[in-house]
């Protein structure tokens, strides 16, 4: 159980700033994901935490202890590499107990620990196999067992599911969560897959362009995205550009929409972005007398069987609405409709 704290961490490669003033305080015993597109700096941040790279500035603390200047081999972190990085010259149990051998633990103890871990990853009886005899999924499990052998302070996984096929990925996802819960170890997963981040983690750290965009639970990230980037990257959304007024209305395209104002709207005429998620939106006939609507043209209807995706357009904005499948829609492509905007729609600081 380790809390991880980063204070004003910067990482520069020449003139390129890979991480810009990162501050993080992550709780212990939780499943944490670093989420971001490729090149966002998430992997850089991850490597700094592992100690594989040095921060250009700032401090990294495990449980308050400053480990910034500790190289990787003095941090006691367990890391699962993207390509597993199993040692080809050692067999399964020797791989798992490599760290214990460095500590000069007796062979019987190492062997016992390796077998205990093989039990944990549900691969008993493969202790004496060579690495080349294992499938990709098995290699990953062995690599997980190796990372856990020394009871590390942090358990780090770099894109753990990206190399697996779809079915195995889902299976591994739940298994990783179970494993994390049984061990109660602070776990950090790097991923670029927002669905993976949303389903696996307790805390999501969204990173873009070397900056932390938002830290929060998956639901917070989804429902109350802090920036336009988060709203766009996590799930689908339409962002309306407009101005928030102190009387509780959002002015958009000459229209006034009633919206619950967040605290940060302290003065009149604050520019903001209204984040609309597909499941919040409803389409109504033009005859219906509804407030808080935007006039739209239906541009595409796609029946996916489980639901119907409707695309509607208003000027340059495109909206996605989800309707239940199996019921008549009552409208078609090209119809003029009214899009109902809920008052609970989330407003983002522009």
């Amino acid at each position: 159980m380790t809390t991880l704290t980063l204070e004003h961490v910067w990482k520069r490669f020449g003139s390129f700033e890979a991480l810009k003033d990162v501050n993080l305080n992550l709780p212990s015993g939780k499943m944490i994901t670093f989420l971001g597109p490729s090149g966002s700096g998430k992997s850089t941040l991850f490597r700094l935490v592992a100690g594989l790279d040095d921060a250009s500035e700032g401090n990294i603390r495990f449980d308050g202890e400053d480990v910034t200047r500790h190289p990787a081999h003095k941090r006691n972190v367990g890391m699962v590499f993207q390509n597993y990085a199993l040692f080809p010259h050692l067999n399964v149990w020797e791989n798992i107990s490599y760290g214990l051998k460095l500590q000069k633990r007796p062979k019987a103890e190492r062997r016992a620990r390796a077998e205990e871990l093989l039990e944990l990853i549900k691969l008993p009886h493969i202790a004496d196999r060579s690495i080349k005899q294992l499938s990709g999924g098995q290699q990953q499990r062995v690599s997980i067992a190796r990372a856990l052998a020394k009871e590390p302070r942090l358990f780090l996984l770099d894109e753990p599911l990206s190399a697996l096929d779809a079915k195995l990925r889902e299976h591994m996802q739940t298994e990783l969560c179970d494993l994390q819960q049984t061990l109660g170890i602070t776990t950090i997963v790097v991923t670029h897959d927002q669905r993976e981040a949303m389903t696996m983690s307790d805390v999501v750290v969204v990173i873009d362009q070397g900056e932390i965009q938002q830290v929060g639970s998956p639901l917070e990230i989804y429902r109350e995205p802090a920036t336009a980037f988060v709203a766009d990257f996590v799930g689908s959304s339409t962002l309306l550009e407009g101005i928030a007024r102190s009387d509780g209305t959002f002015e958009f395209n000459g229209q006034s929409l009633k919206v619950t104002m967040p605290d940060w709207v302290s003065r009149d005429l604050t520019p903001g972005l209204l984040c609309l998620r597909p499941e919040q939106l409803r389409l109504a006939q033009q005859s219906a007398q509804t407030q808080n609507t935007i006039d739209v043209d239906v541009s595409l209807i796609r029946d996916l069987g489980s639901e119907i995706e409707v695309q509607a357009r208003a000027g340059a904005y495109e909206f996605l609405v989800k309707e239940t499948s199996g019921q008549p829609l009552g409208y078609g492509v090209g119809d003029k409709m009214r899009l109902q905007i809920p008052e609970t729609a989330h407003l983002i600081r522009a």
Partner: protein
């Protein structure tokens, strides 16, 4: 259709039922036969010929040339050659391994000039390298003059002929070959392996010895053999930089063949040298195959 017609290679003409892949192998096969296998067979045959004392040789089938191997003079020369070459190959690869590993971790802009520099050494022939070292190790113009100038020595001395001089020149000669053998596998080497070792508690030096070296043992073994065989074949360096007592098998062969005109004995020694090299290469091939699964 027309596009496809041009892209699919037409089957090459067959020659009396032999397909083209075999045909292509015929010219190099003939070359090998004439310039490699035939001389070797002739040498093999000559090694059983009878040497006419104070004369040349005549065709025969005698084993005296091979029996001469049990002469202590020959045995010590053999032992000396093998030890010298073994020491050179071990020292050479032990230097080349960390060197190449460090070079491969540098930026591309630094790696390329270093590799070019190594290739430059390869353009120098054994003769030029040998003469350069005779100058560098000499009393009149050699390195000892620098030591005198630095105040370490009282007066310049000559460092050759000596076994150490032979080794220095051979190392110089073999080092680029060792590096160039090791370089491709090392630059392809998975960097995450030492990183994984680091997260498991191994410092850089420990990771190098417990992960990098064992994971590259196939490469190391082939580099060792390459340098060993190379050193075994070198006959100019021991002659130029060593005393007759330091001469290796290759020099002895030259000596027997050219100066003592004992061609049958020289041939027998050559056959023996070839067998050692073959055995080594085959044995190592088997060994690396086994260790790499």
């Amino acid at each position: 259709m027309t596009v496809q017609d041009t892209t699919i290679p037409r089957p090459l003409p067959r020659f009396r039922g032999v397909d083209h892949k075999t045909l292509i192998l015929i010219p190099p096969g003939i070359m090998l036969l004439i310039f490699f296998l035939c001389p070797f067979l002739i040498m093999g045959a000559v090694s059983f010929y009878y040497r006419v004392p104070d004369g040349f040789y005549e065709p025969d089938f005698v084993l005296t040339n091979y029996a001469a191997f049990f002469d202590p003079v020959f045995l010590t020369a053999l032992g000396r050659s093998l030890t010298l070459c073994a020491v050179i190959s071990v020292v050479c690869v032990s230097l080349a391994m960390p060197f190449t590993y460090l070079v491969s971790q540098m930026r591309r802009g630094i790696q390329v000039p270093i590799v070019i520099l190594l290739l430059c050494i390869l353009t120098l022939s054994e003769v030029i390298l040998g003469f350069s070292w005779t100058i560098l190790l000499s009393r009149t113009a050699g390195a000892s003059n620098v030591l005198v100038w630095l105040g370490i020595l009282d007066r310049p001395i000559s460092y050759y002929p000596s076994r150490v001089a032979i080794m220095i020149a051979m190392l110089h000669f073999c080092f680029p070959f060792a590096v160039l053998t090791i370089y491709p596998p090392i630059s392809r080497f998975d960097r995450s392996l030492p990183e994984a070792a680091a997260t498991l508690g191994a410092g850089p030096i420990r990771a190098f010895f417990t992960v990098v070296i064992p994971a590259l043992r196939g490469t190391i073994i082939s580099a060792l053999v390459l340098v060993f065989v190379f050193a075994l074949g070198a006959y100019l360096f021991p002659q130029m930089l060593g005393r007759p007592a330091d001469w290796t098998l290759s020099v002895l062969i030259t000596d027997q063949a050219i100066y003592k005109s004992n061609i049958p004995f020289a041939a027998a020694m050559s056959v023996f040298l070839c067998i050692i090299c073959f055995a080594l290469i085959l044995g190592v091939g088997k060994l690396t195959k086994k260790t790499e699964g």
